[in-house]
Amino acid sequence: MTATAQRPTTTVFRRPRSHTGFWSWITTVDHKRIGIMYGYAAFSFFVIGGIEALLLRIQLAQANSEFLTAGAYNALFTMHGTTMVFLFIMPASAAFMNYLLPLMIGARDVAFPRLNALSWWIFFFGGIFLYSTFFFGTSLAPIGPGGVTGNLAMGGGPGSFNFIASSPDGGWFGYQPNAGPLYSPGTAMDYWALGIQILGLASLVSAVNFIVTVFNMRAKGMRLLRMPVFVWMTTVVAFLLLFSLPIIAVALFMVTFDRQFGSVFFASTAGGDPILWQHLFWLFGHPEVYILILPAMGIVSEVLPVFSRKPLFGYSAVVFAGAAIAFLGFGVWAHHMFASGITPVAQAAFGLATMTIAIPTGIKIFNWMGTMWGGRLTLNTPMLFAIGFLAMFTIGGLSGVTHAVVPSDWQQTDTYYIVAHFHYVLFGGAVFGIFAGLYYWFPKLTGRLLNEKLGKTHFWLMFIGFNLTFAPMHWLGMQGMVRRTWKYPPEFGLGPWNLAVTIGSFVIALSILVFMINWYRSKRRGVASGMDPWDARTVEWMIPSPPPEHNFTDPPVVTRLDHFWHLKYDEDEEGRPVRRAEADALLERLEHEGNNPSSPIHLPNPSYWPILMSVGIPTAFWGIIYHTNTWGKALIVIGAVVILTSLIGWSIEPLEEPHGDDHRDDGSEHDFAEVGSGEESGDGVEDV
């Protein structure tokens, strides 16, 4: 890396300097490396959550099966849902955002690199904390009215508990009072509540970081309405996180206090209102589902134009539709409670509000089709996944509209029809979108291409497996198969289709295996992609692949939407692109300059403090769970001390190595009154 040089070592609070090897990853504040770490972590959790799903499916493959105990089954669907939502889709989106956001707006890094590292490490240890429940968590039989306890079968059998069963089992939305102290005794649900609390904190920090980055760090000329749609969706999602996470934070605190400190928010015996939990959870929960889908929509909006060789149709419409979805998303939460006994007025109002969301979403769908219309479509793997998203998400969306018809939802709610809906939007939508992104940006990551043959195999296996898995669920639901049922009797006649579903889920698993193989091989022996393999449109392709640590040697001065494309192409009088003569020369120049900056470039220094601070948080939270005994209290103290020390260390850490001629600092001479105020160093990156 050109930006590294020798420099004298000074002061106690030296900042770490290694740029390769283990420590460089531990201490990195480089948004690209953080993005990569997010990505691998998210995918690992996808595999774990998926294996949990496969276990569910084996249990449900035929009627009255006893492959799993009741407790194990409940624990598995709870952990499956929680994992897929909070530990897979969200961090996977965060991976794309981290890696691409600065590249797409022509910035050196995010606004607060150290905070960015902090988010990542908090997420990472949050995930560890949540999963530590498998080893430390306990869940016991419920305590009924009058303090009578439920009973578990002695010596094994379907009624007994086991390793898996001793983890959270309240469902991913932990309805009260079932997930409360009486009906879910033991520590498992505490791990769940506090684990999600930690993960939420991580997302909140990134949300602030990304918003500031988007508003303050765009390269010259990159006006808001010249930003790629993915950046726009990132911004929208950041606001959704910003405004919805505090709500779930409060709700989770209430649960934790009920379970740990004897408050009675949801204790119906003391007059607590279980419905309050539902309002708070879904007031977060519905925005959350758009948090899950909008990044994927952003990805698709990048992929479709490139492989249609046309600009995105109705750019501003797509952008504003995204914002509209987010805004409306805050006004529909009670559609998860149509059966809870809320007044008819409320039911009608929320039903209508829910329907309206179909309109902006439709706008997106139709504009995407408009993008492909009259284009020159290259049906390679990323494109296939993007098109798969379009088709599959539409199914999920439309089944969503059938829920919005309140009375018919009284039949559908809490059945597999719902399970079908949300897997079509989550898997058919978010997951297909994420894979489209992986195939599209893999060259940016590695400078190599993923293998097309394996890619297409992956797509078709996944596409068929996906539909085989989730399409029959619509039918099962309408045939009366309720959700979260560990067993179903033969006389309900649900067996055959459940078997089909189980087979489908293993086909999906197989397709994922193919993908893993493809990734592993292509990273080493993939075809070299060069700088601009797709003839792309956006500025992240104007730098070498993989990008140099400093991203842009000199940030682009953006003149219009799809800046990069217009550097390469003119339009003839008919409005058809004609490649400029100097295009190839330009690419070569960019590649050369990208790798060899003429003048050394200032970058924020690595730091120990983010990881240290984020270790403190789960430590303290473990303490909270066991606060009744001394070593629990000890853990709280230790955690608090670690957090405080790292806070202090953080704030007095030197911004650069004194006298260091290594220019990897963010310019301590920075006048904070004005952003970046003129001088080049750090480009407004504030070392916070």
């Binding site: 405004f243 209102d273 419905i275 309050l276 309002h279 708070l280 805050f330 006994g341 809320i342 007044t343």
Partner: protein, 103 residues
């Protein structure tokens, strides 16, 4: 510090503002006792809300300088505020009814 185009209030002005805030607070507390006597009910609530809103705006506008900042900041700030009011009012009304008896 950053991009403030108008004049800062002077310390003297700050003291005046604070005094004004103190007075409002006094009135609020007074209202509380008046209400004990006269049972104004809703009217009392209305007045109190109005008064505290005034305090709120003054602190935000002058002490937090929002009045002198780029409009963008106030946009974010009000967005959060209004969203909170909107959503939670709906939650409250929904729950208020449910408690009596479900549909």
């Amino acid at each position: 510090m950053s991009a403030e185009h108008q004049e800062h209030p002077t310390p003297a002005q700050y003291w005046k503002i604070a005094a004004f805030l103190a007075v409002i607070t006094a009135i609020e507390v007074a209202m509380y006792y008046i209400d004990q006597e006269l049972e104004l009910g809703v009217l009392n609530a209305g007045i109190l809300v109005a008064l505290s809103t005034m305090k709120f705006l003054i602190v935000v506008g002058w002490f937090m300088h929002l009045k002198f900042e780029k409009p963008l900041l106030s946009r974010f700030f009000t967005a959060g505020f209004l969203l909170a009011c909107g959503c939670y009012l709906v939650v409250l009304s929904a729950l208020g009814v449910v408690a009596v008896r479900g549909g």
